[in-house]
Symmetry: C2
Subunit: 428 residues, 2 copies
Amino acid sequence: LLPDAAMSRESLVARAVDVYRSYGFSPIETPALEYAEILLGKGGDETEKQTYRFEDAGGRDVALRFDLTVPFARFAAEHAGRLGTPFKRYHVGTVWRGENTQRGRYREFMQCDFDTIGTESVLADLETLLVTHDLFVALGFDRFTIRFSDRRILGGLLENLGLGDSAVAVLRSLDKLQKTSRARVEAELATVPGADAGKVARIIELAAMSGDAAGILDRVAPLVGGNPTGDAGIAAVGDVLSGIEAAGVSPGRIVLDLSIARGLDYYTGMVFETYLDDLPGIGSCCSGGRYDDLASLYTKDRLPGVGGSLGVDRLLAAMDELGLSGQRSTWADVLVTVFDDEGAVGAVEIATTLRRGGVATEVYPEARKLGAQLKYANGKGHRLAVIAGPSERDRGQVQVKVLASGEAVDVTLEDLVATCRRLLAAHG
Amino acid sequence: LLPDAAMSRESLVARAVDVYRSYGFSPIETPALEYAEILLGKGGDETEKQTYRFEDAGGRDVALRFDLTVPFARFAAEHAGRLGTPFKRYHVGTVWRGENTQRGRYREFMQCDFDTIGTESVLADLETLLVTHDLFVALGFDRFTIRFSDRRILGGLLENLGLGDSAVAVLRSLDKLQKTSRARVEAELATVPGADAGKVARIIELAAMSGDAAGILDRVAPLVGGNPTGDAGIAAVGDVLSGIEAAGVSPGRIVLDLSIARGLDYYTGMVFETYLDDLPGIGSCCSGGRYDDLASLYTKDRLPGVGGSLGVDRLLAAMDELGLSGQRSTWADVLVTVFDDEGAVGAVEIATTLRRGGVATEVYPEARKLGAQLKYANGKGHRLAVIAGPSERDRGQVQVKVLASGEAVDVTLEDLVATCRRLLAAHG
């Protein structure tokens, strides 16, 4: 990544981490390289095909992690006693996937996950949605929608219909509702053993319900009511909705959408996806949900939890497209130019003064023509240039130039920090 | 890494990045995985033995980077035109080395490099030392010493002694002066072709010079003077010393030490190492220097530069040993307890209010016994607990408890943010 892209990513991750921290999530880190049997223990053929796996010099079978969930499961199992529960963690890290390398697709990308484990409380479900909400606000998105559901509602309907054992197949089909036609999903559902036309219609009716959450819950009740699984799901959704209101979330930002199913088998309760209203085509940018047991492969302790995963690279692409990315390629606001070799020491003094005053400041390293130095500053995105030629030096002054407007003021060294701060605030 | 260690590392890297930014360095990122021929093109057998190298699914010969310098050289060569010069970058990233894999150790660690390329200016040398100085101050170290030299001074002496062609061998021996006895270094130097006892004595005399910089330069002049390489080195050291003074660096923090040679062949001018006065045994925690050409392997453009590398994991170990690491395992200052299910929504409201007021706040996810929730907060390192039981709720108040002292105050919701801020400031 060149500096402008690396700065965007750095700034996105920093803002995400600030939100995680503000909710009491703590960081963990795990190695990128682990024994293949640990990373691949639970994954299917598809995962195995995508994983970079090799033998190290000691003859061990190792692999690069392909997500942050599996390493977290191993980590949680290993350290459960020391961590205590509830345990809330975030993890920013690189993952590797080898899919379609011939088509030149990303094989190395960054994930940014957050999870709360060791509690079945609906408060943790709610908080997962609030964190996601705050993330998108912090990233500068005005128009986004978090769509959530609770798998137990559909599960209750399926149990009522005598299709409880086919839940996974039904969920996988429903997950395509947003990507393909309703007719195709109906045809796929009709192939589920025991699913006649009437049952398929009921399933679609439930998944396609729209409108305000209270209205949806009213219409859901007769379809699902009386079934303990379904009732638990309806109650949890009600609690989540109250919490969203208590947190003062603007209406329409977190909405109930029973078609959200998430294809993965392991979700057991709340599930959610996040869409950018202006770029629906790029798909969900933050998804997740509640799972019954994170680490069954590695420990006998049951570790239920809930969490989400932020699609860092997808979001960066979206921010580029929406013009939310910065175009600068420096974090420094000020460039101190160097007029001649005699002025070099003075430039260092000026820069030191500015940095001590909290203003990030670069010194041009050579006494080149002023025009070349200002061109450099314009190209990098500095906002102010400080010029100290011999005439200014003789007067004990420096000139501060606003690069965007060309405005220039002469100031004494004592006034330099205050002047730069004022100009930066005005030309932010 | 468990949360306390991960927080220390996060915080160390954030402070380092702040310093880099304050000098106008910009971030870049390169893939961890590159073609083996690119990463290993310049490395010797030793590097090759330590590198994780394997064939990917597409049959390509790839490897995990073993440092950040080689990928930067490739990157700079590839993008030189777009980046322009001077180009100042920092790069925080994981590197892998497989040494001693037979002993079950594979090593994955973090590097944090900064470089200025495309200029031969002594200002960039000076700035490299100032950045290093500011890094250690920002990390909270009171007692550290940056030792620098210029290889051309010793080079000038060797040319005067007719040993110019043996510079690399001499440098490698001198590099051991701090680790082994002077007698052993003398014995090793005596094996360099053409180095008689008199010449060895001269070399050691130069390397062992101590005292203030002006005094050293006075004594160096007759040994090296008249040799153009040596004179250039003396002049550059003089300029660096002026700049250090201009930047107001406390005396003794950046000192001239002609024994600093750095073993690596590619340094050509200024070289430096950084030691913690209280932990000399752990070796240099930030080292680097000037090189003539970064990317000769990848481009015909000459890219001279200067930079340094921060030993992140070594510094973390040092901070642990010196008691500079935090012991907390949460970034959140406040824990909002949940008294009963009815209070859960209220807890979310309270937490939202605090977060909007800039106070990082965690909600305990379940209505457990208060004692268990306070124990959790003490274990994690929260500073305040907010308690809202039914009696407080009835009065429209909450209780704020300072965990360290047990002090408790009742406040209205309107006063909550201000009260928490005041208590946090007082119990920092």
